[in-house]
Amino acid sequence: MARSGPAEAFVDSPIGKWEVQLRKGCLELAIFGCLWSGKLYGLEILRRLESDADLVLSAGTVYPLLSRLKAEGLLKSEWVEGDAGHPRKYYQLTAAGRRRAMEMAKLWTRFSANLKGLLSPVLKEDGK
């Protein structure tokens, strides 16, 4: 994706790097979340990440990750010849992928709830 100068400067700043690491850490979980209720193809996953989680990612980031999750047995895929005039590769969670997604979602929820309590005074201060 093309990025403007200020955005690039933000990514290179300490807080920007931290945000990148944070996003990196939850990207797998976000993909599991996209696929939880059904199968999607690559571009749909990209769009869903952007619209539902505000995660703007390049295709060059998501496709190799999907390939790796498939190699790990967490996703499975199938080619579908649709009306689009070209085949689409649909991904869906395997049983192992669903188990992993549930574990990660629980951990994430517990972690963020704990952190929220700790950070509430910080946010109160910021709101003043």
């Binding site: 994706m1 093309a2 990025r3 955005a7 933000f10 990514v11 920007g16 945000e19 990148v20 996003r23 990196k24 990207l27 797998e28 193809y41 690559g42 571009l43 505000d54 995660l55 703007v56 990612l57 390049s58 295709a59 060059g60 980031t61 998501v62 496709y63 190799p64 990750l65 390939s67 790796r68 190699a71 790990e72 080619w79 689009a84 005039g85 070209h86 085949p87 689409r88 590769k89």
Partner: protein, 201 residues
């Protein structure tokens, strides 16, 4: 569709570069990756105004994209493979410091060297029974020598006899097991995730 816009050569050139850079992965896997990339470009170009150019830009540099695929896939394969070559490739792509990587790779090579010695000793005993085996000079246990491709020391007597064959065979398997496990543990620990979102809203 794409052909009518004159973008086909751009796509073909891009995919050809990815294919070359993916060399080493199984051919079926490469075909599947390229088919998916082509499908993405077709889909994207059909819906977005900037079309093919933007789709290729979103995929990024073809060599970098192929490197990401290779490193992600090779490390996953290395973690569940028994092939030393696949594990070595996984070690090459894993993250961590250079010193750690070199040390682990050296230990891995050393482990397989030990495996080679043990199995060669077992084979030598089978092929040249009078020469192969574990030998020592009576009264001097420090002189114990595993003979591989040479002659036992003068006045030496054999220690294990034919037991050297199953013992060396099993010891070799144990060495391979632990060597592989250590390398795979290291790969898992330091797997360099390339899935770093670069875009920030």
């Amino acid at each position: 569709m794409i052909d009518s816009t004159g973008n086909a050569p751009k796509i073909e050139k891009y995919l050809a570069r990815v294919r070359v850079a993916l060399r080493g992965l199984p051919e079926r896997e490469i075909d599947d990756i390229l088919r998916e990339l082509r499908s993405y470009v077709d889909e994207f170009a059909g819906k977005e105004v900037p079309g093919v150019e933007a789709a290729l830009r979103s995929l990024g540099d073809p060599l970098e994209l192929a490197r990401t695929y290779r490193s992600e896939n090779q490390m996953v394969r290395a973690q569940c493979s028994g092939s030393p070559l696949v594990i070595l490739q996984g070690l090459r792509h894993a993250g961590g410091g250079t010193l750690e990587r070199v040390t682990t790779t050296a230990l891995f090579v050393l482990g397989y060297f030990g495996l080679g010695i043990l199995w060669a000793a077992a084979l030598e005993k089978i092929l040249v029974p009078s020469r192969g085996g574990l030998w020592y000079i009576p009264g001097n246990l420090w002189s114990t020598t595993l003979v591989v491709g040479g002659n036992p020391p003068a006045a030496a007597v054999e220690l294990l006899g034919w037991w050297i064959v199953p013992i060396a065979g099993l010891a070799g398997l144990a060495v391979k097991y632990f060597t592989d496990r250590i390398a795979q543990w290291w790969i898992g620990r330091y797997r360099r995730s390339t899935s770093i979102p670069r875009s920030v809203n």
